[in-house]
Symmetry: C2
Subunit: 390 residues, 2 copies
Amino acid sequence: MDLGCDSGAFDLGMEVPAASTGFSTTKGGEPVYIVILAGGSGTRFWPVSRAARPKQLISVVDGPTMLQRTVERVLPMRPKRILVVTNRLQAAETETQLSGYRCQVPIDIVAEPVGRNTAPAIGLAAAMIAAREPEAVMAVLPADHFIRDEAGLRDCLQTALQTARNGYLVTLGIVPTRPETGYGYIEADMALRGDGPFPVLRFVEKPPLEQALHYLEARNFLWNSGMFVWRADVIQEELCRYMPELAAELGNLVFGGDVWDVSDLAPQIEALYARVTSQSIDYGVMERSQRVQLVPAEIGWSDVGSWSALPEVVAPDPLGNVLTNTVAHIAVESTGCIVSGHGGVVATVGVHDLVVVSSGDALLVCPKDRAQDVRMVVETLRSKGLDRYL
Amino acid sequence: MDLGCDSGAFDLGMEVPAASTGFSTTKGGEPVYIVILAGGSGTRFWPVSRAARPKQLISVVDGPTMLQRTVERVLPMRPKRILVVTNRLQAAETETQLSGYRCQVPIDIVAEPVGRNTAPAIGLAAAMIAAREPEAVMAVLPADHFIRDEAGLRDCLQTALQTARNGYLVTLGIVPTRPETGYGYIEADMALRGDGPFPVLRFVEKPPLEQALHYLEARNFLWNSGMFVWRADVIQEELCRYMPELAAELGNLVFGGDVWDVSDLAPQIEALYARVTSQSIDYGVMERSQRVQLVPAEIGWSDVGSWSALPEVVAPDPLGNVLTNTVAHIAVESTGCIVSGHGGVVATVGVHDLVVVSSGDALLVCPKDRAQDVRMVVETLRSKGLDRYL
């Protein structure tokens, strides 16, 4: 199938009218498809997160789950459609969590047969959207990030939408607040313009601390957020250029009358995922493409990477304790603790800087600076055959 | 009613044949009534213990509750009857926990309208037994103690039974294993005989450490266990002598055809408890009576006074961690912890000497040496109106 890989022309100025969907755009907003990547797995929020219920499907913060919050924060943009890419293990729970929003926006859930990192997921979503509306703009959002300033996010996305409309791959770069060594950075050329978007110079891997301190000072190195905005046809072009095997596989999919229902394509999609290699869109496309622009985002972003990151998203009480999913924390001479009490009461006496988490059938206690080692617990559970607690 | 307080004669040699009850005695054993004091309340096993489910009604150790263990360890003695004195708040749960044993021994449960310490409870039980069989021997046992050597306990009780038969008030004195400053001690005259019983010289209050060290060395100071054996008529006589007001109140109770069913007497018992003062049998009788003898008991006894006492009754694993009610403890670099996981999994990473207890709806974390301060948690819950967690 000809994907238009060799079409050559790349019209930066092309404008496409919003498709009539019954869902209007916000004042001054661009019509947009939202693609939520919700197929992640992880162990760092054990025992609340489990294999079939990873971080995006739990309430790390009180109230809606991370996935629900991701949907809720884009609703004011009146997206044309939300496409959620998840995996089979999590599909049912994803469906349950999103049903309530369908009165506000059409939502489709696509379950990958296996995880192959972000490039195949994004490629599949782009193929579905392009089959209906090739030049539509799509915003790709991870389902498991926290954003305090949601209006700020929407402003950034609107800026990105306009840039994407002109044919760029736009990435949201988070303005660093600390010399983090656990993230990738994006160097932007911020000398010329005010608010951006800015041309991207290069992507850099997780830096050592000295480097990260330099980046923080330099101010034109931003965190790679995994949030992208582009036209469906443009990302398809770049996939053709930089990931031709994946693009070819995706090109073989023939969508039926209702593009959004891919259940008929399940055997083909299964075969596709069995063949394509696991690859991130960052490494596969973003680090190589010449069309990348960056919109800086100062939006109270956190990827909430582990229990110890909870103070980034929940305000500590006067004793420095942070609570979530807890009726009451009885803190007797206890400070700096991170507490998640499964909707009940948690009492701590004379302890400091501990993570204390209950999920009803499992319990975790560790110092904040050991929160990453929760994976060792999960590995031990697996080796002991205690699979129901995974 | 004439209680025989002024009968004067005190026949040390009197023997009474065992009543025919259909329950035979063990080989060489004395027929005995068991009185279990199960009306205690306390907060030190929060969150597992609650107001309506205090220590004696929970499984501090895996398996049967403390009360059930108390019953089970006397069953081989084939007691004539077990009388359990509890309070109204706990009566239903007490009934539930003991129903299964009724095929082995008659069990009666008496619910006090209010707690008045041990003297009224023991006096009431003695009155009930004496109404049926005045010279019957009764053994009084707390419902919330742990005893590792149960056969040893029964041997001690048999020795005590024989001494009690002769008209003595016999107390079991626990051979100390440490210079405990939290218990009362009993000084016995152990110079004359081998295995006892021994005459009691005096009761001493909780001693300072220096004194406790001296007691430990002296070897004739034993812990006051709260376990007593005596004839019903003998304790009644001593109540008449040393607690005449209580004895008079008890003397006004007129038991009906079935002595063991005191439901008809509920209004009189309620009035009695409203009038009598709160008093322990130790202070009210034992410290004053001239008829007290002591049987030393080296039986792996523990009153399991708080979570930190759990290593006294549950063998620690090689890392010094002690588990109860826990499917698995995933201990990553964790030692010396006391873990009770509500039947689930508990994971600890890099923590030491912590108490970690879950009850499903509430959770406690504190260092072992702060386990006594759980009461502060309970007080705080009360002050915050979180009564459902009390």
